[in-house]
Symmetry: C2
């Protein structure tokens, strides 16, 4: 049982002291060290799973503007930090004092903030206020709710005062991304319609059907259609229907795609940019700003929730409610797991596993710990 969990004298973490843009896996190493904290007076967590996010990789490269402080806490010669910003943990030991809050052994928790270091077998926190309970979420939702979950949820919820009885729409590009799938599910639950733009592909109809049937997108169109002025004039209004209001554009592509989704907004609307997969800058026809009153802003989950931690707590709480109602499904089908067996995986194997997670193509990678 959890209460009988044996906490080892040494913790094992993936750490880095330097950065390298070209091959960031070079800066990672597996380190075994004695935690500095008095574990009997701490909240001790064992790690269940952590995803490998683009922002984690950008941190290793040294190109991400949010970063952890490097310390000597891990018995290194140079100051080091534990990699990773997101993960789900289980409470395995609690202090006797009030700092444990309402945490119980066996609770599933996620860190409130980024930059805590999650690529580790154990982590220690001093106060329950630095953690959020996510017992109701499955492993995959819990391990991704801080970044993709919050991003998708807050993009829909935090910027527009929606009228769920109106014919109100969000348009977004990168419609197959994990965040976009959260967006469509949350929007549907709130009575907001979504027009998702995806890249042209041979199996367009098949992919569109999954996004519509499984993830609740109201309608999926291709980038060709998105960029086609005839489509905008003749087909779009039929898709949107009577008195439609396209109030919010969500951009994570940039370039022409960003201009084309912005063009479909009503007057005085908002485009939020939260990614730039095309590596092209956000491109906005001047007339949209001047004559259509477009506002273009950015969204950064890390900064937003650092400035306002309560907003993250509230978001996760609402997210969990939607998950419990079945409005948001687990992202398990979008994830490829890499298994770290804490009893049998050697340090060398662990490092290779994580490197594979960083460099591998295709589905999002998540390291799942077997205990």
């Amino acid at each position: 049982s959890s209460s009988a969990h044996q906490i080892p004298k040494h913790f094992k973490s993936l750490i880095y002291s330097t950065h390298e843009v070209e091959d960031c896996t070079k800066v990672l190493s597996v380190k075994n060290y004695t935690p500095k904290q008095d574990l009997s007076q701490s909240i001790v967590l064992k790690t269940l799973a952590f995803p490998i996010n683009p922002s984690d990789i950008n941190q290793l490269q040294g190109v991400y503007p949010s970063r952890p402080e490097k310390t000597y806490d891990y018995s290194t010669d140079e100051p080091a930090a534990i990699a990773g910003n997101e993960g789900v943990f289980e409470v395995v030991s609690l202090p006797s004092g009030s700092s444990k809050g309402d945490l119980k052994l066996g609770d599933r928790v996620i860190p409130l903030q980024a930059n805590q270091g999650t690529w580790s077998n154990y982590r220690v926190f001093s106060s329950s206020s630095d953690l959020i309970k996510v017992n109701d979420l499955d492993l995959f939702s819990a391990a991704t709710v801080s970044v993709n979950g919050c991003t998708g949820f807050q993009l829909v919820s935090d910027y527009i005062d929606w009228n769920s009885n109106g014919n109100e729409w969000i348009i977004q590009n990168a419609g197959t991304s994990s965040v976009s799938k959260i967006v469509t599910q949350v929007a549907k639950a709130k009575g907001i319609k979504t027009l998702s733009v995806i890249r042209d592909r041979d199996n367009f109809d098949e992919v569109a059907k999954v996004l519509e049937d499984k993830y609740g997108a109201t309608k999926v169109i291709s980038e060709s259609q998105n960029n086609d002025k005839t489509f905008a004039k003749e087909v779009l209004s039929k898709i949107l229907g009577e008195n439609a209001r396209v109030r919010l554009a969500l951009n994570s592509v940039g370039g022409k795609s960003s201009a084309s989704i912005a063009r479909k907004l009503e007057n005085n609307a908002l485009m939020l940019t939260y990614g730039g997969m095309s590596k092209q800058p956000v491109t906005l026809p001047t007339s949209l700003h001047i004559f259509k009153g477009l506002t273009s802003k950015g969204y950064w989950v890390t900064e937003k929730n650092k400035k306002n931690p309560q907003s993250k707590i509230d978001t996760i709480s609402d997210f969990i409610k939607m998950y419990n109602y079945g409005h948001i499904i687990s992202p398990r089908d979008e994830i490829e797991t890499l298994t770290w067996n804490t009893n049998t995986t050697t340090d060398e194997q662990l490092l290779e596993l994580v490197k594979k997670g960083i460099t591998g193509k295709g589905k999002k990678k998540m390291v799942v710990l077997e205990w």
Copy 2:
């Protein structure tokens, strides 16, 4: 004297019923007509001068999103509108009732709103509330204060809560434009510093000196410098000085220039786009939106002051105060006048004059009426 002014039975206006993008001068004609209003019950204005603005030309082309209603008021077979959105007038006749407000014969006035039609020898208004008195301004300032004056003044004044004791900056491109010169003068009067970007040119030093000495720009740099990362790293901070805050970017160029001025902003700052002289879209590196909290919006003087006419009245009032203090100088040196002698210029000559004003290159054109 003004009170003895003879109002003719026929007015003369430059009107249009159709639009043409290629050569918009074709749609203009000079029309003599009997005004429909009872002039004894109206505010009658004689025109002193009107500028030929890009937006006036865009209206003739049919590509401007704000446009006057076309009517049969001018004895035409097809509905027609009088061209022009801006101009300065003299009150030559007043009604006896309260609709004249505090207007006096001889007052210099401008229309409160756009789309009134200003390319005319006389105009009639029913209420003083549709006019703003500008007696203190010279002809050139008065004739341009509605568009360039308001634009420059409001860009500086209406978006940022400036600390005039701080080292606070505006960066703007198109630094030689008429609006940019208003911006630098208003900013200087308010204790805000300006970094004006101008195109590279052989006589850069000479032009920069005029902008700095005559128009109050704090510092002028070239587009090459604006786009140069080494300049941004090594020279810019010396120009800006200690604890500088670059809080507002004003873009009327677009493309690379817009990206480069946006890059120089502090975090969570604002870029306002009010023009697009390069014909390139507004281009914003994704990271500025996501990681630096940049907000990009548009500014449109017509729409802003239509929505909130009091804001225009207040702006003009403040503008006049600055003009009276000598903080804002007349734009007369930037303007080429075209003379319409109301006694001797024939209709054919008038049409040619205005066509020349539309197609002519170089300085801004203003038609000045001789009475």
